[in-house]
Assembly symmetry: C2
Homo-oligomer: 207 residues x 2
């Protein structure tokens, strides 16, 4: 695919046991609700299971023309022919990942403070995920929450499109978008854990 993507409403998958529906059903519903890009993130150490899950999502999202990103593992991303990879500060170096996936695929990097932002400015990436903006229970090893104001300051320094992540609900998304026009909103539990993921996603898009 071409290296074009819309970060507006960025779904990051939660562990299947934290989803009310199955993983694929959750993603389907979220897409129907308006999600613009999907990242598969799993802490399951069984890479075979991750492969099956990611392959299913990749096929579905390709049919819906929604970009599909795989967290952390570039090998998994390449094996299922995903559209990109997202790495954190403790994952393989972005430069190494860029060499592995080539220049056409989307590459995202997580940033949680000014030092990381400084280093990220020259990184071979397509977007930055900045957070956690608010406290989150989804990611065990998350850094301290930035708050909306620090998020806005960090975002202002980014030479790349930015997506906000961490504890974001509909109200908070509205506040963030007022502070940083055009910012993407990444959501995990507020969609995956919802009884109706389609409606949960759609609510993020209401003015």
């Amino acid at each position: 695919m071409e290296n074009r993507f819309d970060l507006n409403l960025y779904l990051v998958t939660d562990a299947p046991e934290k989803c009310r529906l199955g993983l694929l059903e959750t993603v389907e519903a979220a897409i129907d609700g308006g999600v613009t890009i999907v990242q598969y993130r799993s802490e399951n150490p069984n890479a075979g299971t991750c492969y099956s899950e990611a392959l299913q999502l990749a096929d579905f999202l390709r049919s819906r023309k929604i970009p599909f990103i795989v967290n952390n593992r570039a090998d998994l991303a390449l094996a299922v022919n995903a559209d990109g990879v997202h790495v954190g500060q403790k994952d393989l170096p972005v430069e190494a990942v860029r060499r592995l996936i080539g220049k056409e695929k989307i590459l995202g990097l997580s940033v949680s403070d000014l030092n990381e932002m400084e280093a990220a400015k020259t990184a071979p990436v397509d977007y930055l995920g900045i957070g956690p903006v608010f406290p989150t229970a989804t990611k065990a090893d998350a850094a301290p929450a930035l708050g909306a104001e620090n998020f806005a300051k960090l975002s202002a320094q980014s030479p790349f499109p930015v997506v906000a992540i961490g504890g974001i609900n509909v109200e908070r998304a509205r506040v963030l978008r007022q502070g940083v026009p055009g910012v993407g909103i990444a959501v995990v539990s507020a969609i995956c854990g919802a009884e109706n993921p389609r409606l949960a996603a759609a609510n993020f898009l209401c003015e």
Copy 2:
């Protein structure tokens, strides 16, 4: 490198905190003692740390012309230009890994019972690791130990070179080699945990 390797004494790295020496020092000493091939295996979830460790080992082993295999993550193997990848039954499918790494790199697969052996017979691999032969404390999720007799039966069915793994010490290695001439011996703690890894490795090669 050419797809040639000697499984005779196969070192699998243990967690750095379980090595008496540093990781690189352990591997250096083990090579001096006669280890013929090295696999980097780490359960550290911090892939950035794994990258640093693997890169250091890759550079050293290249200088010593010893094949270097990376466990589980094909992306890490490619990023450090290792000579191959070793996957378990719960890792990415071997076919997917073979596509990622190309046909020149070495690909190994773990097998622990007859069903897995049956499936492995047509797998695009270069060798099989069979085990655990004896009870092991190194790998938390290891299957039940096969014992020397079942190991010999499984080995006899392999169309590929075989390396025995799991709880192997010098005495047991001797027994295994008597039962299965030419078998490779994989060792983790008996070398990594030794006060003198060079001597520990050399002892595996004494008749």
